[in-house]
């Protein structure tokens, strides 16, 4: 059966919201990164769905970029988290408040 476009968009909105809530309220830096991944993938899903529905491959092209950037972001982000963990022995971001005035 044909899945309507709105279903895709709905799922994407739900995934994005879960990701956003995760970023806003989780304390664990790893989970924070995972939440960011979730938000990115929600956007990817929207792009692919719209690309399919409009018969335009540009959206799918954008997804490749997103995946590449997300990979880079994960690498840098994890590296920072590891570096901080070595120094402070925690990944709880409320403990990592070096920039606080």
């Amino acid at each position: 059966m044909e899945v309507a476009l709105n279903w895709y968009l709905g799922l994407s909105a739900i995934l994005f919201s879960i990701g956003t809530l995760g970023v806003l309220f989780k304390r664990n830096a790893i989970v924070l990164l995972m939440s960011v991944e979730l938000m990115l993938n929600a956007v990817n899903l929207t792009l692919v769905a719209l690309s399919q529905s409009m018969g335009d491959p540009d959206g799918q092209l954008l997804v490749f970029f997103t995946i590449a950037v997300a990979a880079a972001e994960a690498a840098v982000g994890l590296a920072i988290v590891i570096a901080i963990f070595r120094r402070k022995l925690t990944v709880d971001i409320t403990e990592i408040n070096l920039f606080k005035f």
Binding site: L24, I93, T94, N97, L98, F99, K100, F101
Partner: protein
């Protein structure tokens, strides 16, 4: 050589000397002790310009030479050139400044021997000469003002040379601050001139001013210039700095008093003489101020016991004479008196320095003998006496200069002072009533001058020795570095008078200074034209009168001080009573300034009027802005948690808000 290069050298040599002596020893402490090197550099940086000036003077053709270095500033209508000018007036002034200044430098090499700041002293002296040369060689008022302020600064540095002494620093401050009052008026005059004429250059100023400006404007300009001059040239009411300036080393007193700074006010008037002559009212003010200053300072000088204070008040008095000459329109005579005065006053000051020097040795010897010297003042004439016996060179030169300033016939001071009195008489004869007042005051002051100077000589150099243990301890003549300058200056005190022989003797032909400076002969210095000439017998009578007064008072003072010594001052005191006390207390000018100006006006106004305004309104505004910033920032600071999630939350709210607005905001 070209004039351009020569003028450059005249100005740059003293400046180079000042920089060399002022900067190098800072980094090379070993140089500070090399007195002969420092003295040679310092002296030659003034003597070489003197030689150059002599050459310029000899080769001067009669046409003013303008040397333009560069455009100093250009803004709107204002164009100021860094330009210098050689003409008769600036040449004479430069000769005085570098000539007498050079002699004083030579003297200082001996006088300052052993002083820890030898290098600093010579750096200041050279800087002083540089500033003064700027003043007299300038071709516009702005460059002149540069030199004007320069001598003010250097006088501050030199008067306060022994700066660890609080009294000396106070004297330096006083000289500087009092001069600032005059400088303010000078600045106002410059602004007025520029706004009216659009130029500060002498060429424009002196040729156009009289025809372009209204009488009122000229009155204001000349009055402001004169107020400026009263500061530098120590006239009522701004003379109070000058007696205090004795705090500096004696050669400084000689330099400031005889050759440089105090003559600058008069030089300014002489330079501006074409417009000064346009204003009768201000000329009367100038002449009367000069006359009052002359007699006031002369009466104070009679009561002084400090040898340098006598000379200081004498300078104020003689400057009064010069202003009298300017006020009756005889500017070339004023400059003539500047010239003769430079010699005999420098000679007197340096002589007093020589005396003080040897009295300090007496003090030292007394201390060595175990005597209590805490009350001993090496400048007090009451502890001197009979020094002629021990220091013949100093004594003779001091005597010659005393005769010269007293107006004994055929010496320099006689010719210049008599010429001033004659001009005043002539001007009065011509219908200017104020000139009679000037003349009478001038005659009385001449008598007072002869009296206090003779008193100073006989108390110091004759009579009995009055210092303790006089039979055992003797003062000594100073070194050649100090006596040679004295003899040079004494020679000048005798000879310079012949540069301005009175018309009656020379039939108007031999008055060199008149021919050289006077506008009638193409010189730069204007003079008042006098319609009704005084007849020859009256001229002879006037000369006779001043000769009789000078000689008579000289012998009278000589006799009383030889026979009675310092005791005669007591009988003077008894005879004049309250008046004498007033003289002794210097007419209470300083008390007046302290009570009225400093205490009542400045302290009251600033304490009760301006201080609350300052602390409440000005400070309030500044502090208010600062605390408002602090308050508001402490509010904003709470938002900056440093937690990324908080920022992200704000971002999300913002996005939701923007989307909401796009969807429903229409």
């Amino acid at each position: 050589m070209s004039h351009d290069l020569l003028v450059r050298l005249i100005l740059l040599l003293p400046l180079t000397g000042a920089v060399l002596l002022g900067v190098l020893p800072l980094f090379m402490p070993a140089l500070r002790k090399r007195e002969s090197l420092i003295g040679t550099i310092g002296t030659s940086m003034v003597v070489i310009p003197f030689a150059i000036t002599v050459y310029l003077f000899a080769s001067y053709g009669g046409d003013p030479v303008t040397v333009n270095y560069f455009t100093w500033m250009q803004a709107g209508d204002l164009t100021l050139d860094f330009a210098y000018r050689i003409d008769e007036l600036s040449l004479i002034m430069t000769l005085i400044v570098t000539g007498v200044g050079g002699v004083i430098h030579l003297y200082s090499t001996g006088y300052m021997h052993g002083d820890s700041g030898y290098w600093r002293f010579f750096a200041y002296l050279n800087l002083f000469i540089f500033a003064m040369l700027n003043l007299v060689l300038a071709n516009n008022l702005a460059v002149l003002f540069l030199g004007w302020e320069g001598v003010g600064l250097c006088s501050y540095l030199l008067i306060g040379y022994w700066y660890t002494d609080l009294e000396n620093s106070a004297a330096a401050n006083k000289a500087f601050i009092v001069n600032r009052i005059g400088d303010f008026a000078f600045l106002m005059a410059m602004f007025l001139i520029f706004s009216e004429l659009g130029s500060l250059s002498f060429d424009v100023l002196l040729s156009d001013a009289a025809s372009v400006l209204s009488t009122d404007t000229i009155n204001y300009i000349v009055l402001l210039l004169f107020i400026g001059a009263t500061g530098k040239s120590a006239q009522i009411p701004l003379f109070v700095w000058l007696p205090d300036a004795m705090a500096g080393p004696t050669p400084v007193s000689a330099l400031i008093h005889a050759a440089t700074m105090v003559t600058s006010g008069l030089y300014l008037l002489a330079r501006m003489s074409p417009i000064v002559l346009e204003t009768e009212i201000v000329m009367a003010i100038i002449a009367i101020t000069g006359a009052l200053t002359a007699i006031m300072a002369a009466t104070i000088a009679i009561t002084q016991n400090d040898i340098k204070k006598v000379l200081a008040y004498s300078t104020v008095s003689q400057l009064g004479y010069m202003f009298m000459a300017a006020g009756v329109g005889a500017f070339f005579v004023a400059i003539f008196h500047v010239l003769t005065h430079a010699f005999f006053k420098a000679c007197l000051f340096l002589g007093s320095g020589s005396v003080i020097h040897s009295m300090e040795h007496v003090e030292h010897d007394l201390e060595h003998e175990g005597e209590d010297v805490s009350d001993f003042d090496p400048q007090d004439m009451r502890t001197m006496g009979n020094l002629q016996k021990y220091m013949p060179s100093t004594g003779w030169t001091y005597f010659i200069a005393t005769l010269a300033i007293s107006g004994i016939p055929l010496l320099a001071g006689f010719f210049s002072k008599d010429e001033i009195l004659f001009k005043a008489f002539e001007y009065g004869y011509d219908g200017n009533t104020y000139a009679w007042f000037v003349w009478v005051v001038g005659i009385v002051t001449a008598a007072l001058t002869a009296f206090y100077m003779t008193r100073s000589y006989y108390l110091t150099f004759m009579g009995e020795e009055r210092w303790p243990m006089a039979d055992k301890i003797h003062p000594h003549e100073s070194s050649w570095r100090m006596t040679v300058p004295l003899w040079i200056l004494a020679a000048g005190s005798v000879l310079t008078g012949f540069l301005g022989l009175p018309a009656v003797i020379a039939h108007g032909e031999w008055n060199w200074i008149h021919h050289y400076l006077g506008a009638d002969y193409g010189g730069p210095v204007a003079e008042a034209s006098v319609a009704g000439h005084v007849s020859l017998p009256i001229e002879w009578a006037l000369i006779g009168l001043s000769s009789v007064i000078a000689v008579g008072v000289f012998f009278y003072a000589r006799n009383v001080y030889l026979s009675q010594g310092i005791a005669f001052d007591e009988s003077l005191k008894a005879r004049f009573g309250g008046l004498y006390e007033l003289w002794e207390n210097k007419y209470r000018w300083d008390d007046f300034y302290n009570n009225v100006v400093v205490e009542a006006l400045i302290n009251q106004i600033s304490r009760d009027g301006l201080a609350p305004f300052d602390s409440k309104i000005v400070d309030g505004a500044v502090n208010g802005i600062a605390s408002a910033t602090q308050e508001s920032s402490s509010l904003l600071r709470r938002i900056q948690t440093g937690v990324v999630q908080n920022y992200a939350l704000a971002l999300v709210f913002g996005v939701v808000l923007v989307i909401g607005l796009m969807l429903f905001g229409g």
